[in-house]
Symmetry: C2
Subunit: 155 residues, 2 copies
């Protein structure tokens, strides 16, 4: 159980956190550099949710670096409980944000044809941002399951 990939305070855990905040950061960068994204509530929610993800994953990456440098074990009940709740909340918010934004992107592309003609919305950029948000969710979901598994072994 202690050798589980992606556990807190390990190199694999650190890599997972770095991937999470990188993907979330790219999703934010792509979305905010896109024309007229602020006109749509769900795209603003995507940016907020990804910003929360960046803060959470960056914080835990710093904790992993500290644990690795000081050779500390982060697997105690209280900390793992905090990680389980945090990862579950951020994973759920990421999936909700990615799904709602993909719903809007699909509406623009397939149902309203807003990507061409008079509207000419930058749907390619919207889709790219949404894709990175989905990758962020997958990575956070992995962390969430690893933490839940570790917690079940601790209690």
């Amino acid at each position: 159980m202690k050798e589980l990939l992606g556990r807190p305070g390990s190199v694999s855990g650190l890599l997972l956190r770095v991937s999470q905040f990188s993907c979330a950061g790219i999703a934010i960068a792509v979305m905010v550099t896109t024309d007229r994204f602020a006109e749509f509530t769900c795209f603003c929610y995507l940016v907020s949710s990804m910003a929360l993800q960046v803060l959470w994953s960056l914080g835990l990456a710093c904790l992993d670096i500290y644990a690795l440098s000081k050779k500390r074990d982060l697997q105690n009940k209280l900390l793992v409980r905090l990680f389980v709740v945090g990862d579950w909340v951020t994973a759920t918010l990421s999936l909700a944000a990615a799904s709602s934004s993909s719903g809007i992107a699909i509406l623009f592309v397939r149902d309203f044809h807003f990507c061409t003609g008079r509207w000419g919305l930058p749907c390619g950029s919207y889709k790219l941002a949404v894709s990175f948000a989905f990758v962020t969710w997958i990575l956070t979901s992995i962390s969430s399951h690893v933490m839940f598994w570790i917690l079940s072994a601790l209690v």
Copy 2:
């Protein structure tokens, strides 16, 4: 561990499954009786996802009734693994469907003002269907966590 609320083959487990397929059924009924829902891809996806949820929860409710009537124990590794995967997949699809549809509903209400005037879309019904889809997700998410917890005790 064996007395966990919502475990398979128990009365609480059966009630959870009945609540899941009832809420999913109401979400489908509200959406399909709404004007012009079929014009929007995400609303059709909501109906498909909720239909899958009804099938899954109804199947497991029947299994719970069988286990209760025959006093059988459903907590073996293979079955619980199947329940974990099934609950996780249906919970994820339900959240994605509810979120994407709520994204569209928010767009119609707040950003495009399509609920009044020339368009006059039945946004109240869309919101009601989405609310039931979110309740379905919460209930399935509870089942998913209970199953994951039982599995961690079995392996």
